[in-house]
């Protein structure tokens, strides 16, 4: 069905290949940049991935101005302000974010601070509030899940007010996304499984939620098919270059899809699990995905039914709701397989969630922005019911 109205935008140049990082200095040249601020975390540095980036600069006239490796699992306003000051002090002219979603969000946040000339980005939270052109940013993801390299969103924790600030703007898209299989090769199996399920959740929610549209459907389908082909392979053998690149592409495609189509109740619940019980985002999404799909079958059985074919299930010419339940069981099968080979939790209780925290998670979930795009209204009681099932 063609939606009444929709928008699609993705201005990111994509480089994908086994040595794609080598092209970064050339891309900086095209962007008119000379000195990059590398934004990353200590884990990425320890894994030797920044060395791969340094090697790419060795024979070029571009340079790395500074390596900021203080990024934490949650980006914060303090960190963003510190990075912005360093950026100016080191006379850098572009951001080169190397890492997971947090590194990319920190770079996006500092970019807002510098371009808008403010040290209080709290005033700029919301959607499409950023009015000034941001500095060029090149994103090199080191996990295959968040899709941040092609999204227009940044989430930054405000330490003083103890709130997560969300920013969404077409100006927040990186200029270049670099997918290099070497950058995800060191990710351990459990994290590979969790981030892969995160990408699957992005694609499935983009395909089934309210902003679903023909363009993003194409990206979501392609992502799901790549995940079906490569996720288990990448978890079983982290050194499988093809599988790693396949998953990096899947994550990017899912990122494009959900950046436009948005996500729904699975993400709302997962964000709340993260906020209340610190469950890693990918793990929470993995556990909640089949339950969220099952809940939404009441309203949108057809798109959920269509997902079964993308996951390799046969189309049995069943009633839509029955076929949609096939999708749910295929997702559960995939989760079970990932649990056996990597130890990925399949229940909230196994992910460190205490049962008495479920009401607090449900309360937080119904205030999450993602819920606005879920095709079915979700009340507090219903959110709690879904959480209990996933527990």
């Amino acid at each position: 069905m063609i939606p009444h109205y929709y928008q699609h935008f993705c201005p990111v140049k994509i480089l994908s290949g086994h040595n794609a990082v080598s092209n970064i200095p050339f891309e900086m040249d095209i962007l008119g940049c000379r000195r990059a601020m590398v934004v990353t975390d200590k884990g990425v540095v320890d894994a030797g991935l920044i060395n791969l980036v340094r090697e790419a600069f060795a024979d070029s006239d571009k340079e790395i101005g500074y390596v900021f490796d203080e990024v934490l699992p949650d980006s914060s306003n303090r960190l963003v302000n510190k990075l912005a000051k360093l950026f100016e002090k080191e006379k850098c002219d572009c951001f080169l974010a190397v890492g997971g979603g947090s590194a990319l969000d920190t770079a996006k946040g500092a970019n807002i601070v510098i371009s808008e000339g403010t040290d209080d980005i709290l005033l700029l939270q919301g959607n499409e509030i950023i009015k000034k052109e941001l500095l060029p940013m090149i994103a090199v993801p080191t996990t295959s899940g968040t899709g941040s390299e092609v999204t227009k969103v940044a989430v930054i924790y405000n330490e003083e007010k103890n709130i997560k600030m969300a920013f969404a703007s077409d100006r927040l898209y990186p200029r270049v996304a670099v997918l290099d299989s070497r950058m995800t090769m060191t990710v351990p199996p459990k994290l590979t499984a969790a981030t892969g399920m995160d990408a699957l959740t992005h694609a499935m929610e983009a395909y089934t939620c309210m902003q679903k549209n023909p363009i993003d459907d194409v990206f979501a389908r392609a992502a799901i098919e790549l995940i079906r082909k490569y996720l288990v392979r990448a978890v079983e053998n982290g050194k499988d270059e093809e599988a790693r690149l396949g998953m990096a592409n899947a994550s990017l495609l899912a990122g494009i899809a959900f950046s436009n189509s948005m996500v729904g109740m699975v993400h709302a619940l997962a964000h709340a699990c993260g906020g209340v019980c610190h469950v890693p985002h990918g793990i929470a999404n993995a556990i909640l995905l089949p339950h969220g799909l099952e809940f939404n079958i009441q309203s949108i059985p057809r798109p959920i039914a269509e997902l079964s074919g993308m996951l390799g299930g046969s189309i049995e010419f069943m009633e839509e709701k029955e076929q949609a339940m096939v999708t749910v069981s295929l997702v559960k099968n995939l989760l079970g397989r990932l649990n056996r080979i990597s130890g990925l939790p399949v229940r909230l209780r196994d992910a460190g969630v205490a049962e008495d925290k479920l009401p607090a998670i449900a309360s937080a979930a119904i205030n999450d922005g993602a819920l606005a795009f879920n095709p079915v209204e979700v009340s507090y009681d219903e959110a709690l019911e879904v959480l209990k099932k996933a527990y």
């Binding site: 959607n127 795009f373 079915v376």
Partner: protein, 188 residues
């Protein structure tokens, strides 16, 4: 007959000054709808316990505004005690502003033809401020719509139309009865 009508409409639309006239009409419609919507928050809050329960956890003094870009009408509302007060037309230092991109984006929502969730989904609304608090506001807008619009419209406008009990229908009647006096009071 259809062709004649089509040609007449085209002729009217090609008249010099028609776009400006059309824009004025749209402005008037949006402005009138907002003049009803603002006081409706007060009236629904007075009669509907569900509404009061929803805003129970809001911080005192939270201000939010609805407006139409670029220079359309706006209203500001404020949480005060167990109700939401209508502060009148214009932006009065709101913490959260929900802005419709233009009249065409605003009209279906303000006239009760499309829901706020659809407006969000279709990028018709821009949000300035805390997105979590915006979700809370959105739930309150849905309650107001449920009591303001006839049942047939709520089925279209809300993701899930509420199942009304006899008591809810009585409250709906009270909302209808109280709305016009409330609008008049704010106009005076």
């Amino acid at each position: 007959m259809g062709d004649v009508l089509k040609r007449t409409v085209n002729l009217i639309r090609s008249l010099h000054g028609f776009p400006a006239f059309q824009s004025k009409v749209k402005h008037m419609l949006c402005s009138t709808a907002l003049s009803f919507l603002g006081p409706a928050f007060e009236v629904v809050g007075r009669h509907v316990p569900e509404f009061r329960k929803e805003i129970e956890s809001w911080e005192e003094g939270r201000r939010f505004a609805l407006r139409v870009l670029p220079k359309g009408p706006a209203i500001t509302l404020e949480k005060s005690g167990d109700m939401i007060r209508y502060l009148g037309k214009g932006l009065k230092s709101p913490h959260i502003t929900l802005s419709f991109k233009n009249y065409d984006s605003a009209l279906p929502v303000l006239m009760g033809i499309a829901g706020s969730h659809q407006a969000f989904a279709e990028n018709r609304i821009l949000v300035e401020g805390d997105l979590a608090k915006t979700m809370e506001i959105n739930r309150v807008v849905n309650i107001v719509n449920a009591y303001l619009l006839p049942g047939i419209a709520t089925k279209k406008v809300l993701k899930r139309a509420p199942k009304m009990t006899l008591r809810d229908y009585i409250n709906k009647g009270k909302v209808y009865a109280g709305l016009v006096p409330a609008v008049v009071r704010h106009l005076i």
